[in-house]
Symmetry: none
Subunit: 190 residues, 4 copies
Amino acid sequence: MRTKDEHKKEALFKATVKLVNEIGFASSSVSKIAKEAGVSPSTIYVFFKNKEDLLVSTYVEIKRNMADAFLDDFDERLPIRDIIKGVWFSMLKYISNNLEKYDYLEQFANSPFGALVDKDALEKYCNPILNVLERGIEQKIIKNVNRELLSAFMFQPIARLANPRLCHGQAWGEEDIETAFTMAWDAIKL
Amino acid sequence: MRTKDEHKKEALFKATVKLVNEIGFASSSVSKIAKEAGVSPSTIYVFFKNKEDLLVSTYVEIKRNMADAFLDDFDERLPIRDIIKGVWFSMLKYISNNLEKYDYLEQFANSPFGALVDKDALEKYCNPILNVLERGIEQKIIKNVNRELLSAFMFQPIARLANPRLCHGQAWGEEDIETAFTMAWDAIKL
Amino acid sequence: MRTKDEHKKEALFKATVKLVNEIGFASSSVSKIAKEAGVSPSTIYVFFKNKEDLLVSTYVEIKRNMADAFLDDFDERLPIRDIIKGVWFSMLKYISNNLEKYDYLEQFANSPFGALVDKDALEKYCNPILNVLERGIEQKIIKNVNRELLSAFMFQPIARLANPRLCHGQAWGEEDIETAFTMAWDAIKL
Amino acid sequence: MRTKDEHKKEALFKATVKLVNEIGFASSSVSKIAKEAGVSPSTIYVFFKNKEDLLVSTYVEIKRNMADAFLDDFDERLPIRDIIKGVWFSMLKYISNNLEKYDYLEQFANSPFGALVDKDALEKYCNPILNVLERGIEQKIIKNVNRELLSAFMFQPIARLANPRLCHGQAWGEEDIETAFTMAWDAIKL
DNA sequence: GATGAATGAGTGTTCATTCAT
DNA sequence: CATGAATGAACACTCATTCAT
């Protein structure tokens, strides 16, 4: 028997992300994705159970990839503000350098497929960051408020800043980013 | 016969929003929308040029409706912080009470259709708010930074807090909202 | 609006029967049937809910048609043997003249679709014949045995005689048919 | 290694019959049959030229098996009526005990595949029975009519009685079967 | 001998849209 | 104005079969 070609799976992930960016979730059909990936539509069903499986797998793949990047130079021994600043910059950098992937996440989450993923399983990737926030609260550095609020003010604005659709192609300089982090920190610091 | 027309158009807007919420953008076909609205599929083409026109019109309709609500009890003569707090609470209230419409906006914006709307035309609804921010900057109450940053930290977190998909059904009490606004204000205030 | 074209429904029935005869139940696809009927595949879904509905409707249509033919010159006042002989000849004649339809019935019945039809509803067409058999039993003309046995020996052989697949194209003369009925009658008569 | 082969071929016959019974001719795909038999789809092409060959071979296999059973306790020296009664009971018994196989035969015969089998080759299995009928005719015990008529009245009703689809699950007692044979004999006896 | 990878052709069905009324 | 009839194009998916191993 022939051996399974993992390049094809990779190509399918790539094609899916690219197409969803170009023509949107709704219009990204199986056959278009196949053509973009340079395989036959039926080949997709060798690697994935069905279209849903392809889309969800692509999502999970990106999420895992992203979580790795966020925690890349994560160093627990630094002062709390510095740790968070590190993560914050990692996020902005990753998103800026992977706009296609980020856009896929957004479109995926804002679709009925979003409900299909095991959120809790994915959230455990964020635990190291959440733990740092907890420590900050204990040390009276960070406001002791609902954790969702902390996340919302720390990380949500990044989504906007990184999204060229929302910020009409505004390019952010080093200075702006520094300023932005200061604002995020002002929001959550005690 | 004018009245009948407008009823049908209204019904089509409603049906579109409802369906997109229930089954998503991709699965919301013209005929399903027509059936939900209680009209024939071809009737849609009496009111709209095509499917795209229907979706975009629905979007614009909601945007206009929303902007009205945001500026409902807008009073320029109040202190700046109070004005902004008023708008901020209006937004959260509107979104909480109109989750279906809000969800439609999200799905629409995160799709290639988003690019079809005249953003500038819509943004002029926000001018009164932006003007208040300008005054705050002049009066050294608000940080003099890129305006996108101000918007991002003022309003982006609301999107997260109001979105039950992202905050798994967390219900926000009066206190939480008060806290959240404090954080937003901390972020932008000088 | 355009008015529904009943000719097309008729053409679809005809095409279905013809194709099932030529290439069999298993190979008769929706698109082939559409092409044979000279309509678009999607037009089928204007007249029928789905493929199953088309096949079942075709079956029921033939059954009704057939029952009418069987009872065509049914005359209750004749002697019992003559009534049955009349029906018997009608059946053989109808089947011989409508081999395509008969073949469709056989293929349909010998398929999982067969289970989908409301058998009892169809059997009521046969009630007049069954009633005659009952009278024959009361009058001690016909054997008083399980009714299924009577049907099996009266009518089942017809299926074989009329089926050219089973009788390799044997053509039946007047005499043969007369003989065959005698045999059927010998089987059930007391 | 011969043994392994034949196990797989046997398993494929079994799987084919089972699947055709459960989901019908049309839906019984090569890959489903392979899965049911516990082999790879491509393995089928080791044993059979193609799908058609598999289906036809299964048919012939059953036919051979069945003919053996029919002539199991065939004893030429008995009186003619007893010989025929013996065969008749063997048929009914075999069919009742092998409904799956019988159902396969029916579905197969009522399909264009039916035309592909060499009928004459199969019919030679029936020669011993036909010879008995000839002797019965010579001895003026059996009606001297077209041989097809004799077969039709002798054996066709069995198909009906044994087919639970046609006789809605009617269970036949010893007495009923005795009666049924009497009717068959009445039909053909002089 | 036996297999899983791979595919072009085909499946049943729904799509957005037009047309005649 | 409003509609149901009608369709070509597309949909997600499965098919029988071949091929490299």
